[in-house]
Every structure is written in structure tokens, then in C-alpha cells.
């Protein structure tokens, strides 16, 4: 399993897509490209991301593009221990 990342972050790539970088030469540094132009849309390639994760007793990393080639369900929810 890969090293744990510090904080979840979009990679700027799209899962299965051809775009590798948020292509915009006007952004001088990575810090100045907040990827606000990347949006998940139905019918389009999913924005890739890396995030710290817990899985079956171990801490590691979840990277969406690791699931390329499989049907994948990505679920968000409001919070642990929040009843529903």
C-alpha cells in the first residue's frame, strides 16, 4: 500500500481521461492552480484524487484511479457516528 498522504487532494487528472495536468499555462505554480475549474459531471471522466484512508485494520491511501477497470461506487456522507 502506498504511503499515507497528509490530506486529501485532487490530483488534477481524470480517471481514465487523457488530461494529466490541469492544462493552463497561465498558472505559474501548483499553489496558484486551485483546480476550481475541475468539476465532477455525469457522463464525464471522474476527477482523480488521493486521500488518507482506513481499510480493514490498516491506514493507507485511497486513490480513485486505482479502481480503473472496475465498476466503482464513490460515496460521501456527513460524518462518522451521525446516525443515518
Amino acid at each position: 500500500m502506498a504511503e499515507a498522504v497528509g490530506c486529501a487532494r485532487p490530483t488534477g487528472a481524470q480517471v481514465g481521461g487523457t488530461r494529466k495536468e490541469p492544462a493552463s499555462p497561465s498558472h505559474a505554480t501548483e499553489e496558484e492552480s486551485p483546480m476550481e475549474h475541475i468539476r465532477a459531471q455525469v457522463g464525464k471522466h471522474a476527477p482523480d484524487f488521493e486521500a488518507p484512508a482506513y481499510h480493514q485494520g490498516k491506514f493507507g491511501t485511497a486513490k480513485l484511479s486505482q479502481y480503473l477497470g472496475k465498476w466503482t461506487l464513490l460515496c460521501f456522507y456527513p460524518g462518522d457516528f451521525t446516525f443515518v
Binding site: 485532487p10 471522474a46 465498476w71 456527513p78
Partner: protein
Amino acid sequence: MSVDSQFVHKMWNDHELSNMVDGGIPWKMASDGAGNVGKIYGVYDEDAGVELRGRFIIDPDGVIQAVEIMTPPVGRNIDETIRQIQAFQKVRESGGKEAMPAEWQPGKPTLKPGPDLVGKVWEVWKPNGK
């Protein structure tokens, strides 16, 4: 994925969810503390600082085929999610030549769009077993 840390995920899994699911949660529980991922997926509630109940079905090519986003108080229906995945799998198996009509369930007739079907869906599609 939620804004909770992976450490809290572990506590929730070990102390509550493992009582509901044998062996604990089988998939990865990811942490999105700053909402960076939730923001690009359109599910991060800036005011509440949490993520909405968003569900994305992603096909083997990495393409998002379906989205459901709900406010927190109502839970998901996993049967409907599975039905949608099965329907999209069926479309994919057909190479895009077949479509799944409303209320479609596995084993039910599919539609084969083309000139012959125009105006004739009513002959093929029988909702509610009629």
C-alpha cells in the same frame, strides 16, 4: 468518504459498524478533512463544514454514469443503486445498442433503439407486468 479523519473512521468501524457488518466495512473509508475532494464533486457544504450524502457510479473507463446527492437526514437505498449499476452494465455489455426503460429490472426486456422502434415502445415495454 467524509471529513472525518482515518483515525475516527477506525473508531466508528471498530465500535459501531462492525456490529452491523460482519468483519467490519470491507471497502476503504477515505478522509477528506478539508473538503478538497467534496468541493470538486459538488457535495461539500461550506456552511456546515461537512459533505452531503453524495453517491457516484463510475464505470470501468472512469466515466461517471450516475449521481445521487441527498441532504443528511435520509439514508440511501442500496437496492436502487445496485439496480442502476446492473442497468449500466447491461448497456455496456450490449456495446451501447440496448437501453433500459423506466422501471427496468434484471431479466426484464430491454429496448433496442432504431427506426423499427420509433412509436412502438408501447408494444415492447409493459410496465408493472401488464
